[in-house]
Amino acid sequence: MLRRTLIATAAAAMALTGTAFADGHAKTKVGFVYVGPVGDGGWTYEHDQGRLAVEEAFGDKVETIFQENVPEGADAERVITQMALSGANIIFTTSFGYMDPTNAVAGKFPDVKFEHATGYKREHPNVSTYSARFYEGRAVQGHIAGKMTKTNKIGYIASFPIPEVIRGINAAYIHAKKVNPDVEFNIVWAYTWFDPAKEADAATALIEQGADVILQHTDSTAPQAAAQKAGNVITFGQASDMGEYAPMPRVSSIIDNWAPYYIDRVKAVMDGTWESKDTWDGIAPGMVEIGEISDAVPADVKAEALALKASISDGSYHVFTGPLKKQDGSDWLADGETADDGTLAGMNFYVEGLTGDIPQ
């Protein structure tokens, strides 16, 4: 009798673990690696919104995990490896500096899919890269900035000298210059994606030197707070709407909308149709959105900005359209010629008119 009970219990236990196993396999595990905290109100916040959208779209069929504040470098490799070991089916690594770690880990886990944001290396068939054409949004910002500045000085808080950031500076400068030939860009390299104290100091230094427009390519809202303190300075939300600083100082923003892409890719993993590719979407597919232009911007400037956005969106206008020269005066694009993606992806030069050197 006793033995039979034992066997029955064992069988029941096995059945239980069996179903648990089946459940575990049916669930697709999605991992996210973040460079900042999810509450940064900028870059990482939007990625996390994408993660939540994935959860919402698939409900019980997915399980998402994330790790925030992961430093770029050796730590990243450990974190990604840990995620792969814990059974993630697809891992999104969401900062440029995770490029090499992502590829290194991908080589060791051929069955796990890896998606690296803003990078260009796909060394293994299980690595995809994806990015957004933020520079399209920068063009709209540059237009507003050029129109709005009274001191003709625009401060730019840049993070690292990588193509993505340089593209943004060039796009903003070209379009500010177009509407305001006297405009001048002061660029501070913060060498960080997220360091509120440093970003605040950089913004303050720029404002003290007469900048009345601050553009930022760092992720925190600290420059917004600094501009608010200073008074007559306008800013733009970076990566996220930063709407709590509207209508002043934040007059508009670039919003990264990763949700459709994340849902799409997770679905591909579930269906078994996932394959390595490079995605680079802009305003048109909705990966880059322009946050509401606040009332602090005059109506005509707002209308122009929206027209510019529309022309980028329908493809009738390319942000980098010739004639354009490089900073050293050499020709880059002839009249009417547009930049190809290859050049844009590796952009390492300023356009004519920008002062200062790109740090090497």
Binding site: D195, P196, E208, S220
Partner: protein, 314 residues
């Protein structure tokens, strides 16, 4: 490059703001070291103060309450150090380092739900007319209350140490704790009070960062300010007014490097960013160099019992 874009007036005004957190932490540590205790936990106490102040200010909507709680929170933390080193006679260097690590961890734990929140703003004090004086106005009369309180605190510490009986007792405890004990002073009680004062000051410095200077909470936001404060105390050869000078020098270099960059100075950014730290190291080296008599400037000025444990039995 356009150096004329840098306005000396605004530069001085913003260096005063940039220097305030380090100044607060340094003046607190000076009192601690004058009492003969070496507390290397300044960084940990600062960041704990930063999150305590931030959390309370956000919850109550009052920055003043925030600052008060920052001081209390950091003082409580410093009491861990106080009890360990004064009653259990643990090694001060090791305990101080542990306090820094503990404070950094504790603050990120406490701060989990406060990332990305906007704190209530602290108003600048308005001096009508005075703040409109050219040059002098923006430098002297256009700050928030904490900047003035900090300056007053430095003056108060200076006067107390120099002219009052309490200051004399504190220095006696730091110079020769056995003699002070023989005279009937409560060495451990004096030291505990000094440690708590140092903790409160460091906490205020941290809260100044999270509530006024940045203003935001992020993990590790003090970014080494506590260590700089420690260096400034040595730099100042344990004199309050020189602490002021050291903090302003450091704050000045920090602000100046960003201004130089914004003005398009053709110096690589990396050199500019490391310059405040390089200058700190340089000053410490000069201070440690032996004088004619053979002893370093630093060791002459240091309280004789600095870092030594006291027990009434010995």
């Amino acid at each position: 490059m356009d150096l004329s874009a840098i306005s000396p007036t605004l530069l001085i005004a913003s260096l005063m703001v940039a220097a305030t957190p380090i100044l607060l932490a340094a003046i607190g540590e000076l009192v601690v070291e004058k009492a003969g205790v070496l507390n290397l936990g300044v960084e940990g106490m600062m960041i704990t103060g930063a999150i305590c102040g931030f959390a309370i200010a956000v919850e109550t909507g009052s920055p003043v309450l925030g600052f008060i709680c920052a001081a209390i929170g950091a003082a409580i933390l410093s009491m861990i150090f106080g009890v360990l080193t004064q009653f259990f006679l643990s090694n001060q260097v090791a305990t101080g380092l542990a306090l820094t690590l503990f404070g950094l961890g504790l603050s990120s734990l406490l701060g989990q739900s406060y990332v990305g929140i906007k704190p209530p703003s602290t108003e600048k004090i308005d001096f009508p007319l005075l703040s409109d004086i050219p040059y002098l106005g923006p430098i002297v009369f256009n700050h928030d209350l904490m900047v003035y309180l900090t300056l007053a605190l430095v003056a108060a510490v200076w006067a107390t140490l120099k002219y009052t009986r309490a200051g004399l007792i504190l220095r006696a405890v730091g110079e020769n704790h056995d003699a002070a004990h023989a005279l009937g002073y409560k060495v451990i009680r004096v030291r505990l009070m000094a440690i708590a004062f140092g903790g409160a000051c460091a906490g205020l410095g941290g809260a100044y960062l999270s509530l006024i200077r940045v203003p935001q909470w992020t993990e590790g936001m003090t970014a080494g300010a506590g260590w700089i404060a420690l260096a400034i105390v040595v730099f100042a050869s344990w004199r309050p007014l020189r602490v002021l000078l050291g903090a302003y020098l450091f704050g000045g270099v920090t602000v100046l490097q960003l201004n130089l960059q914004a003005a398009g100075m053709a110096i690589p950014v990396e050199y500019l960013s490391m310059s405040p730290y390089l200058i700190t190291i340089l000053v410490l080296v000069i201070m440690s160099a032996p004088r004619k008599g053979g002893k370093a400037r630093m060791s002459l000025a240091a309280p004789a019992c600095l870092g030594r444990a006291f027990h009434a039995s010995s």
